[in-house]
Symmetry: D2
Subunit: 289 residues, 4 copies
Amino acid sequence: MTENNIRKTATLLVCCPDRKGLVARISDFIFRHGGNILHADQHTDLEAGIFLTRIEWELDGFQIPREQICPRFQPIAGDFQMQYEIFFSDQISKVAIFVSRLPHCLQDLLLRRQAGDFRAEIALIISNHPEAAEISQSFGIRFRHFPISPENKSEQERSEIQELRSSGIELIVLARYMQVLSDPFVAEFPNRIINIHHSFLPAFVGAQPYHQAYRRGVKLIGATSHYVTSELDNGPIIEQEVIRISHRDSVEDLVRKGRDLEKLVLARAVRLHLMHRILTYHNKTVIFD
Amino acid sequence: MTENNIRKTATLLVCCPDRKGLVARISDFIFRHGGNILHADQHTDLEAGIFLTRIEWELDGFQIPREQICPRFQPIAGDFQMQYEIFFSDQISKVAIFVSRLPHCLQDLLLRRQAGDFRAEIALIISNHPEAAEISQSFGIRFRHFPISPENKSEQERSEIQELRSSGIELIVLARYMQVLSDPFVAEFPNRIINIHHSFLPAFVGAQPYHQAYRRGVKLIGATSHYVTSELDNGPIIEQEVIRISHRDSVEDLVRKGRDLEKLVLARAVRLHLMHRILTYHNKTVIFD
Amino acid sequence: MTENNIRKTATLLVCCPDRKGLVARISDFIFRHGGNILHADQHTDLEAGIFLTRIEWELDGFQIPREQICPRFQPIAGDFQMQYEIFFSDQISKVAIFVSRLPHCLQDLLLRRQAGDFRAEIALIISNHPEAAEISQSFGIRFRHFPISPENKSEQERSEIQELRSSGIELIVLARYMQVLSDPFVAEFPNRIINIHHSFLPAFVGAQPYHQAYRRGVKLIGATSHYVTSELDNGPIIEQEVIRISHRDSVEDLVRKGRDLEKLVLARAVRLHLMHRILTYHNKTVIFD
Amino acid sequence: MTENNIRKTATLLVCCPDRKGLVARISDFIFRHGGNILHADQHTDLEAGIFLTRIEWELDGFQIPREQICPRFQPIAGDFQMQYEIFFSDQISKVAIFVSRLPHCLQDLLLRRQAGDFRAEIALIISNHPEAAEISQSFGIRFRHFPISPENKSEQERSEIQELRSSGIELIVLARYMQVLSDPFVAEFPNRIINIHHSFLPAFVGAQPYHQAYRRGVKLIGATSHYVTSELDNGPIIEQEVIRISHRDSVEDLVRKGRDLEKLVLARAVRLHLMHRILTYHNKTVIFD
């Protein structure tokens, strides 16, 4: 499906206290105004008393103009104390990728974008090293170099935030970016920063997880993509994957095999986010795939 | 959750031509009569124009008595040309297991039933060999021995059908039953017979799939659970799984490793069926798990 | 292959400092005396300077009588400072299984023994609870009940050790045995106690790993089999496996899915140990499979 | 490890009838001349009576000059009727990649080469379409465009063979090359052409395997890398991998998910081949990894 003839849809994401009639009220709202529901997923956490749903319907034939949908939906949202968002399939998200020296996740995301794995405008590449400039150029993407030292970190982060804001960036992807973002930076983009950690979290938090895995003698290594929160490597997990290793594998082999995991696990998370398939609550994700 | 305090719910399975308003009409029906929806899954095959849904709601507080639910739902079903079924969570399905000489799938299902992996009454074990009598007895389950020869097959199958009908069997599980069921037998239980085939279908249809896999030199072997139809090993696939093998593995190793796959893949299919999570159309399954 | 016609072989396991000529000296020793090598695996940890090998050869035609093999091999072992062991394929190991209340791993091992997945004499089942007595009896295996309290633990463990010694037990399998063994107990059976931990170690060490996994919101859960050392859940890892979970899975679902992992991962470790395919060094395992 | 300081080793691959003394004679040959064995793997197919081994030893300290190793080993090879090859770790293989329109496998191999996943000189890219010219150029690799029609196929293949011969190509990788190579072409490069087929062979041989998989309703899709023989999609299998799909996945989703499998499975095969870890016999592979 090319971008010109993509099906025009609206997607509603809702998180609220569980109550009778939620599905009926929402689906009735869509039906009464001529919407045809394409996908509807819901999840109720019975223990926590929380209801989450993702509903996608065709805009073709829907009688409410898109700028009116939020105000018209507001009374229902108010009744049920909903947190909600509405997205339109022809709005293409702007993405920034942060990278340090290892380029494989960056290259992978750029090639996947090219192959049509997901739709996004990769508008900006930021690095604390200069090496990624060439890749950025070959894909025609703006590159900004922000070297980070303990002394200039706060200032550089403020510049980065300004850059991200002025570019209208909606999603930040840390594609093996080896700097820890400060709390103020993270607070600017809640649930909008996806990181790839090269271990099966919560095992091997922190630095050099492949070395840690080698020393412990595990038989599988993993990678984890998650939203970044103020607590290091402890945000809501989006996706994880593992691969088998053996005593024959050196640390270098773990690094090599791990690259495949990192690429896959980060790309899946980015795709799910861009398709508005992730909701979060209680430091966990609900994935409607 | 013990069987006494299991949550009382109704589950509606629907398959019909896709049309606007389906979700709204169904959820409104449930809400208007005081039902609280616990799970709602839907799938639309846009190409085929088919809509499928599974909705489960609490009976506690629902104002229609359960024997009235079908007649009261009938007008909606008629409007939308629905094929539908309604199940209640406290109705426990009666299951018959067919087995030949290899007991591992039978034992696995019996132990899973005991451990509470799924709820069912395993009411009958049928075999063309006498060996399973002892296992049946140790679990306190009625055992019937129907030896099969080319001469007596039709007659024995008629006796089996009678036995199954009189016992009120709702699901037949072929747990490494090595006889091909005749078309008349299969026609008696449409989408009610689950088989385990010890290959990754459609590879290695027919006899001795592990020998076939060994000769071909594949690097993964598989198992497939499916509903039985009149075409051998060609019914709707419910579940598949694979395991890695290497040149070090003999046919005996494949058989041994395969047993684990067979047990897992058959048990998952049985559990999904018993929880009314499988719909079929166009010789495929839709799994709402 | 039945136990009567099993191929008679010797298996040599060696761990020593790496030096030139190791493979040549060992294979020459076997060849000069008429042995036909069936399997030979080796691993060199170049960083640690350690050489490990497993060599299996046919006894049929081998000119050294089996009780003479060790003394005749001793000079080579001395030259190379080898730690080594020699096993014969027709010697069947005696195994004790420890279990608490959950029977699935115990049942699984007993059925696998019956199906011929591995060869062993399961000579003794020990539990701190009485429930496993019935299963033990139905498989014709001696059962001993050792209730454990903080007060009697040392004394009970001494009785257990005596029991294990007098029964000639060579391998102890903790099949969901929920007591921590004391250091003196563990010291009696170095690399002879296999435990199953119901998490992907080193994540979720200690109690209630499925609850920990649920709270953290991981997308895969795991199980780990390992040799028991004095440090809890930190012995050499033998095998690990994972399974995918989602937000739909409750803690009970994790427990249910985890049972399959626990059974598989423990059974593989037991089989590898009984086939003398595991060597350990530096708190890691080398698996020659 | 950079290419300059790569460890200098010799690797011997042997396939011959099984006989006593094979390991001893080979390892004695290496040891007597001062070689230190780093890796030794062997496999005996007892049923077929075939012995296969891969032995790698350090050239540093080995007393036979490398051009003399083959002649000096010849008598042993003759005694045991060995088919054998000897490779040196500092000889870098020349590789040609064939591609049609889909670039993902080509890009993946080029980036893996760059990241150091394997060592090779990718000397030539050949396509029946012009699109890959740009990628080739950006990686500085010679590109040749050979359009294929039924009329010119034989002639074009002869030109390709000439090109490959004159470039000293040792391995041909079909990276989603959608033309069937003729028997004469294949015969020129026995066990030197690796193909990626986008199904779990032997399921879905031939055209449009993802469409076939979609229609059959399988729950896992796969990819298979194999050596090319004169029988389509039937050569010795090197590697296979699968990924889970569901009823939610359209054919386009299968194609997208399959790309990841294709890249992984082809790259693993290429790496194994370049590291001389694959032997073949009876249309099967033995992988010493």
